[in-house]
């Protein structure tokens, strides 16, 4: 540890955000910038018969109107992950056009774009575009999409399947074990579709400069380099070195801003066509209709136990919606980010998961905070609590009985799961015990019983999750279908005066990297934090990067920076040894200076830096300068874990759930800044609670989204939530230099089943065993009536 690591250092980025001085993409105005408005399909599934644009073209201020017939991005937007069928057939990957020519496949799909001098003119003219559609039947449920005779999304594939996939042990062996089990618990539900709802809507400005033949794309993305790569190499076929992607301040992402969207490619194309900068900012209705959404799994699962309550087998079948097209990481979500977590924190000896991934007439599904792991955790934590009830066991005791014993990954080896992964380190007992202590578990049952006597419905729900972050190494994920590496880049540039600029491929959109990264860089170099600046989000500044998602920034991006710091110190030592006329091995580095051991002879970091750039008196053969870049490819995922506990009271008359307490005891490995880790947990927990109680994307039977605004989609508000009580244990990650695991998604992964378990517990004496999420008052009330 040092002066800054582990401290609740206040955030640097707040200075601008608090004054309204952040620069989000929509805040940028360029000279001569044109504005756009899309014409989007009102139908989920329809033939486009005719598009008439003449009136729009002639409207005030209109620069151009484009349709799918204008040759924009002929290859469409690609998918970044390939999961082939179990029988070896190639994944079906539809062309995802920038503008639809023939057939629209979800509500909100763009058929035309109007470019005008002002936004108001663009919007007015868009109303003048006339489109004739021939509406067709649509299917939005992933299970129904696989029914014989279901409406077909892509004509080439009448069965609607994109791929199927399985993981774990041989299915027959799992089925046999279930047949012989003492007790089998079954569960069947829909892990409902939710909308990410970053508060900043997506926004793009493309600016083509004809004189330099260069493009600049300002975009609200979580990974600027990957966007540039996909845009240049796959969609538009333009030279990568002539495109600069800038993504500075981004107002939340939660996954939805990882992906390369059609709009950013289309704007880049249009900017060259019209020779002017061009902007599009999504409005909230468009965000509901076009931002990739999360979850949407139909699940049927069985877990078997022996007579002592030990889990003997777990078998699951799922239908996981892809939407109409494959979004950037979509195929990875219900497979490698989901099935690989089916071991949970338990010693289950036999596991099998089968996934069918259908196309549906809906906007795409992709990674949303947690991405596949919340869905895995929800299943495991619901089914084990359900089993405990059925077997009349305490849900905490049943978990403790089945937990993988503690292991640190150093003295004890990692834990090899039945579903491909090897966990790095874990102590699941510790977080559960602490969580139970925090909630006062021992007294709770008595309280619950007393409450019931007076007609109050109190319940408690436990969730003990594990998740996988910083997905890697590249060679492994490549073998699993990733079409990109999953390393990270960290460049440390020491300026001649000893001030340090760090360029990271990680991307901050709320995580506070500018502060946290500076904390450990300052500590490792023994210099003041003020001497360190973190740069991100600009492909012209940062060599390369894979961006931020999957809670990977510190464990992967941070490690890359550490590697560069090591190189800096190694070279610095050579320079210091030369200046101090000592052998390198006789030097030690601490508090920003190299000292000859046992003497008071020393040279400061700043003097060494200056020497590196003014190499007059300098080691022979050593290159000048002090600037290193590193690519860090982790050897494994990291595996944060923890215990979440919810206490609820259900209103007996209305079914409304009052979430009274929420306890989160998480283990995210070493902690750089506890204030920020707690903040990440709070936010994740709120999103998980949102899914449990409030949020749901609903389609009617024609494929219309009937929850497409804040009038109908319930986002958690301040008075829907309690204070989140947090604590943590620390089990360092054994395989990265900072010993960190990741905290961005843990809250969203652990919390949802805790809340649902609590509500089911509150109503258990009424015979309630399951309630479909979200647990709206109506659903809870209905469950109580049955």
């Amino acid at each position: 540890m040092g002066q800054f690591i582990g401290k609740a250092v206040k955030r640097r980025e707040d200075a601008r955000f608090l004054k309204g001085a952040g620069t989000y993409t929509d805040d940028i105005k360029l000279p001569q910038m044109a504005h756009t408005a899309f014409v989007r399909s009102p139908y989920a599934h329809a033939k486009v018969i005719d598009i008439r644009i003449k009136k729009a073209q002639e409207a005030d201020g209109v620069i151009a109107v484009y349709t799918g017939n204008d040759g924009c991005g002929e290859y469409g937007v690609p998918c970044g992950w390939q999961v082939d069928f179990k029988n070896g057939d190639t994944m079906r990957e539809p062309m995802h056009p920038l503008l639809v020519k023939n057939k629209v496949k979800h509500v909100g799909e763009a058929v035309a774009i109007v470019v005008a001098n002002t936004l108001a003119q663009a919007r007015d003219a868009a109303e003048l575009v006339e489109v004739d559609y021939e509406e067709m039947e649509a299917v939005t449920c992933p299970k129904k999409a696989m029914d014989e005779g279901a409406p077909i999304v892509h004509d080439d594939w009448p069965d609607n399947a994109s791929f199927d996939w399985c993981i774990g042990n041989d299915r027959t062996a799992v089925e046999e074990a279930l047949a012989n089990a003492h007790h089998v618990t079954e569960i069947k539900y829909r892990n409902q579709r939710v909308a990410p709802n970053a508060m900043e809507p997506r926004s793009y400005i493309a600016d083509y400069n004809v004189n330099d033949d260069k493009w600049t794309l300002y975009t609200s993305t979580q990974n600027p380099h990957l966007i540039r790569l996909l845009l240049c190499a796959f969609v538009l076929g333009i030279p990568e070195h002539k495109v600069r992607v800038v993504s500075k301040d981004v107002g939340g992402g939660f996954g939805s801003k990882i992906y390369h969207y059609t709009e950013e490619a289309l704007l880049t194309w249009i900017s060259k066509e019209i020779g002017r900068p061009v902007k599009w900012t999504s409005d909230r209705s468009e965000a509901f209709l076009t931002d990739a959404q999360g979850r949407d799994h139909m699940v049927e699962s069985k877990m078997g136990f022996d007579k002592d309550g030990n889990i003997v087998a777990h078998l699951t079948d799922e239908y996981c919606a892809m939407g109409a097209y494959l979004s950037t990481f979509a195929p990875a979500v219900p497979t490698y980010l989901h099935g690989t977590l089916f071991q949970g924190v338990y010693t289950t000896p036999l596991i099998h998961l089968n996934v069918v991934a259908p196309f549906t007439h809906t906007v795409a599904v992709d990674a949303y905070r947690g991405a596949g792991r919340p869905e895995a955790t929800y299943l495991l934590e619901r089914i084990i609590s359900k089993a405990a009830k059925e077997m009349d066991m305490d849900p905490a005791a049943l978990r403790l009985k089945n937990f993988i014993p503690p292991f640190d990954g150093v003295n004890e080896p990692g834990y090899q799961t039945q579903v491909a992964l090897q966990y790095d380190s874990g102590n699941y007992h510790a977080t559960l015990k602490r969580g139970l202590e925090m909630v006062g578990y021992e007294d709770f049952r008595k309280k619950q019983e007393d409450a019931r006597k007076s007609g109050k419905l109190l319940g408690i729900g436990i969730s003990t999750y594990i998740e996988g972050c910083g997905i890697a190494p590249s060679a492994v994920v490549g073998a699993l279908g990733a079409r990109a590496g999953l390393y990270e880049v960290g460049q440390v540039r020491v300026q001649p005066t000893g001030k340090v600029s760090v360029f990271t491929g990680s991307h901050s959109h709320g995580q506070g990297h500018e502060t946290v990264f500076a904390q450990f860089v300052a500590d490792k170099l023994g210099i003041p934090m003020d001497d360190v600046i973190i740069e991100h989000g600009d492909t012209d500044q940062v060599a390369f990067g894979m961006g931020t998602y999957g809670s990977r920034s510190l464990s992967v991006g941070g490690s890359a920076i550490i590697k560069s710091i090591e190189k800096i110190l190694e070279k610095g030592a050579k320079i210091a040894a030369h200046k101090l006329e000592a052998a390198e091995k006789d030097l030690e580095y601490a508090e920003g200076k190299w000292t000859v051991k046992g003497t008071d002879k020393s040279i400061s970091f700043g003097d060494v830096s200056l020497t590196a750039y003014v190499p007059h008196d300098y080691p022979e053969g050593l290159e000048p300068g002090l600037d290193f870049s590193s690519f860090y490819d982790p050897s494994n995922f990291t595996y944060p874990f923890g215990t979440h506990i919810a206490v609820v009271e259900v209103d007996a008359e209305t079914g409304k759930v009052d979430l009274q307490r929420f306890i989160a005891c998480d283990d995210v490995g070493n902690v750089m800044n506890p204030m920020i880790v707690d903040g990440q947990i709070h936010g994740g927990v709120a999103q998980g609670i949102g899914q449990a109680l409030l949020e749901e994307v609903i389609f009617d039977n024609t494929g219309q989204m009937i929850s497409g605004s804040y009038m109908d989609y319930a986002l958690p508000r301040a008075d829907d939530l309690p204070m989140i009580e947090t604590d943590r244990t620390v089990t360092p990650c054994p395989h990265n230099p900072l010993g960190v695991k990741g905290a961005g998604e843990a809250g969203a992964i652990g919390s949802t089943p805790a809340v649902v378990n609590a509500v089911v517990d509150a109503l258990a004496h009424l015979g309630v065993t399951d309630i479909q999420m979200p647990l709206t008052p109506q659903r809870v009330w209905r469950a109580m009536q049955q």
């Binding site: 206040k10 707040d14 601008r16 981004v250 909230r284 903040g679 804040y710 939530l721």
Partner: protein, 154 residues
């Protein structure tokens, strides 16, 4: 149509279309981009400003309706580099992450504390009913406002 508005103490006069919303006027004409548009239909509160002493959602006000009014936006809260106590409390208690909802939160918090200088936790939570935050789970926003209240009362 000609309008005259005072924003953060400065007088402005512009000829604008009646359909221009106040938030658009602030962002596009005055270049005060601290006021954000999150939903544009008075749902999310990111565009909250203060008009003639009360908090309002500037997406649901036409700029022409604000003719003659005095407006404070997030840019008018700090005095130079000296943050308003509410801003200070948000920094101190990590009441923001991505920063997008923050201006609206600060402006709403100011209205809450004006009408109720010592709110309890539930009063703060109810007061924030019109403001969405997707990052913080509101935990640290509520804490920030509690601390701001203490500071402003002392």
């Amino acid at each position: 149509m000609q309008i005259s508005i005072t924003v953060n103490g400065k007088a402005y006069s512009h000829d604008i279309e009646p359909r221009m919303s106040l938030v658009e006027y602030l962002r596009e004409i005055l270049n005060l981009t601290g006021t954000h548009i999150g939903c544009d239909t008075s749902g999310c509160g990111a565009c909250t400003i203060n008009i003639d002493g009360v908090a309002a959602k500037s997406c649901t006000l036409l700029a022409v309706q604000a003719n003659g009014a005095s407006i404070t936006t997030i840019e008018g809260m700090a005095k130079g580099n000296e943050l308003h106590p509410i801003q200070e409390a948000f920094k101190e208690h990590h009441g923001l992450q991505c920063g997008f909802c923050t201006p609206g939160m600060v402006m709403t918090a100011a209205d809450i504390l004006k009408n109720n200088p010592s709110p309890n936790e539930m009063e703060i939570r109810h007061g924030l009913e019109g403001n969405f935050c997707r990052c913080t789970g509101y935990h640290n926003i509520v804490k920030s406002i509690q601390h701001a209240a203490e500071k402003m009362n002392s």
